[in-house]
Amino acid sequence: MRLATERRFSRLTELQEKLQCKWPSIQSAMAETDRELAALEKLLLPEDGRPLVEDASLVFFGSLARGESTSQSDLDWILLIDGAVDAQHFRTFKTTQKRIADAKKLGPGATGTFGDLAFANELVHRIGGQDDTNINFTRRMLLLLESVSIGGDEVRKLVIRAILNRYLADDPSWTWDPDKRLPRFFLNDVIRFWRTMTVDFADKYHDQAGEKWALRNAKLRFSRRLILMTGILACFNWKLNPPNGLSEGERKSTETAIAHFEVYLGRPPLEILADELLRTRAHDDLCRRVFSAYDEFLGILDDERSRNELKEIPRDVAHNSPTFQRVRTVSHQFRDALLTWLHSPNTLLCELVKQYALF
């Protein structure tokens, strides 16, 4: 069962109260997320709460998973399968696809990453190398960094655990001494994902004749950067805030670490960021700048006229678009505040950034 919004964002609420400020667009996006998830449950799941099909989870990514839905958000989803070959999975997928289309929801993009069946074996066993396609890589990272399911959540959780197990158990430096290390294999894939998103941004401009360039650019500056942050923070957290009260054996067990990362990443990215800012006692003004910038970004996306402007303006005239210029300005505020925090002198966080974020 999903937690109510206020419980999913308890640290964000705490930060808001501490700073005595309001982020209305973030609040409104949380409420819209709850409404949209409830609407999807009604649209796609059997009335009496029974499962659609065994060995599958209906997983949503993007703003819905981050708790940042706006009235204009599109729907990125997959039917994630972890079981024997069964024609019923395809049948369930087609029914879901039709219901989403009939309800006139904004469908996923043209890359084929979403709106499809996805299989656990691919996501778990193909990490790196030729077989780790862009689609497979994107699905795997988003499953860890921003995913939510409706109906049965068991498969999504088990696949997340299996992926984390690969990142940890197959990382020689980690298994040697997890107490003293960071999960480098996982961290490297998080950073690779950020770089891939930025490269794909350029590729989509080339492939799709610049369509939605400004909207993609805005998302890269904010929501994509946010999930990079939460992925990196998850890896750093093992050092920044090691689990307490465990015996040496427990601390060194892969199961303990998997459970730790699962819980950590199970929260919405904005909640993770608020939690880390509070935990590291970041300066109030810095916190205010981070979240007010993000709040303004969500406000722009929620405004039909502004979002359409971002969707439609070509790159070569974007400098004439007041909306895009505003996005650019607040994105600098967001980025600079985060950089100031990450580089705070004489902190372990800064040491970790220096030591691990580049090489």
């Binding site: 059997p46 009496d48 029974r50 499962p51 659609l52 099909v53 065994e54 060995d55 972890d82 079981g83 024997a84 070959v85 069964d86 024609a87 019923q88 999975h89 049948r91 369930t92 049965g152 068991e154």
Partner: protein
């Protein structure tokens, strides 16, 4: 016995693990007609065996007992002795074949011994061929067909069909639930229901269905109703066959479709108010998927209870009246067929 009147009940273990009394009370409150008393964990068997002679089972038309799935503390002979009480009451005894250490001591149970087909975790009793070997050692034993186990072994339902065809005379009861690849039981999913309905015609209507879906007491009736639809899908299929002729959603073909059917009725002098004759002329197949056994509309009609036939007759007449109003020219051209249709 019409298929719609199938007896559907629950395993006590699905309602209240380890507490058959609480489960029985819940099932009685929900007016459930069949029960399997579960002693799946061997600790439960001595207490169940002691209580059985005094247990109030009135109201249950079918009662069976499920033997433990593993013998750790009890020996095979001790289990058999404790199950003797169930046999004295003539209750079928469901066993997992991998618990049978040697078949001879089980033979006195005769036809009461009911072997369940297994899920993929077990090394024997999963397929028709493996069951055949078991029945060679226990020729009088009967079969508890667990459709969820069989679907887990083969989601195409070919193995299920094979088991039902090979052992149709041995079937004593059916187990149903949702079951994941990791062998976790759950409520019957939409997909499982669809799969089960494809072989419902192979399960005789007199065979009780025991649900192993772990559900809260409040959901007992809902799960039974859902299972009833899965194992008796005939009404919905016939309704679909009727709609294919009388209520086609493709506007362009709507009139042509019904006109062709009326020609057929005209040639055979069948009037639209002659429900059974009209149904027997319906082209069947629209409600079936490609892999399902095709049944004619008349076959399907034979599966319905009187109450369901009445519902369907009413539905057909309603559609016919609507058509008469929509296409008055058809009413005048096929005067004989529309006689008595107001």
């Amino acid at each position: 016995m019409p298929y719609s009147d199938r007896i559907i009940g629950f395993s006590t273990g699905a309602i209240a693990k380890g507490d058959f009394r609480r489960a029985l009370a819940a099932l009685r409150r929900a007016s459930v007609k069949a029960v399997e008393l579960s002693a799946l964990r061997e600790d439960e068997l001595p207490e169940l065996s002691r209580s059985l002679p005094r247990l109030d089972l009135e109201g249950f038309e079918y009662v069976s007992v499920h033997a433990p799935s593993k013998f750790s503390r009890l020996t095979q002979q001790e289990v058999i002795d404790l199950l003797g009480v169930a046999a004295a009451h003539r209750f079928p005894i469901v066993i997992h074949p991998d618990t049978i250490e040697s078949p001879e001591p089980w033979t006195p149970f005769g036809q009461l011994l009911t072997i369940e087909n297994m899920d993929k975790r077990k090394p024997i009793g999963r397929t028709s061929a493996e069951l055949q070997e078991l029945f060679e050692h226990l020729p009088d034993a009967r079969l508890c067909f667990d459709v969820a186990h069989a679907r887990q072994i083969d989601p195409t339902m070919v193995e299920s069909t094979q088991i039902l065809r090979d052992f149709k005379d041995r079937i004593c009861e059916v187990h149903a639930s949702g079951l994941t690849a990791r062998s976790t039981h759950g409520p019957i999913s939409t997909a499982a229901s669809f799969a089960y309905s494809s072989l419902a015609h192979l399960i005789p209507s007199t065979i009780p269905i025991i649900l192993e879906s772990p559900v809260d007491e409040r959901l007992i009736s809902s799960e039974i109703n859902f299972a009833a639809d899965a194992f008796s899908p005939w009404l919905e299929r016939l309704r679909a066959d009727i709609e294919d002729v009388f209520d086609l959603r493709v506007a362009m073909l709507r009139k042509t479709q019904v006109e062709h059917f009326l020609y057929t009725l005209q040639m055979t002098h069948i009037r639209l108010d002659d429900f059974e004759s009209v149904v027997s002329q319906l082209p069947s197949g629209g409600a079936f998927e490609s892999h399902q056994v095709l049944m004619t509309a008349r076959d399907l009609l034979g599966m319905l209870s009187e109450e369901q036939k009445y519902q369907l007759r009413d539905y057909l007449h309603q559609l016919v009246r609507r058509l008469a109003a929509e296409f008055p020219d058809l009413k005048s051209r096929f005067r004989e067929q529309f006689a008595n249709v107001e």
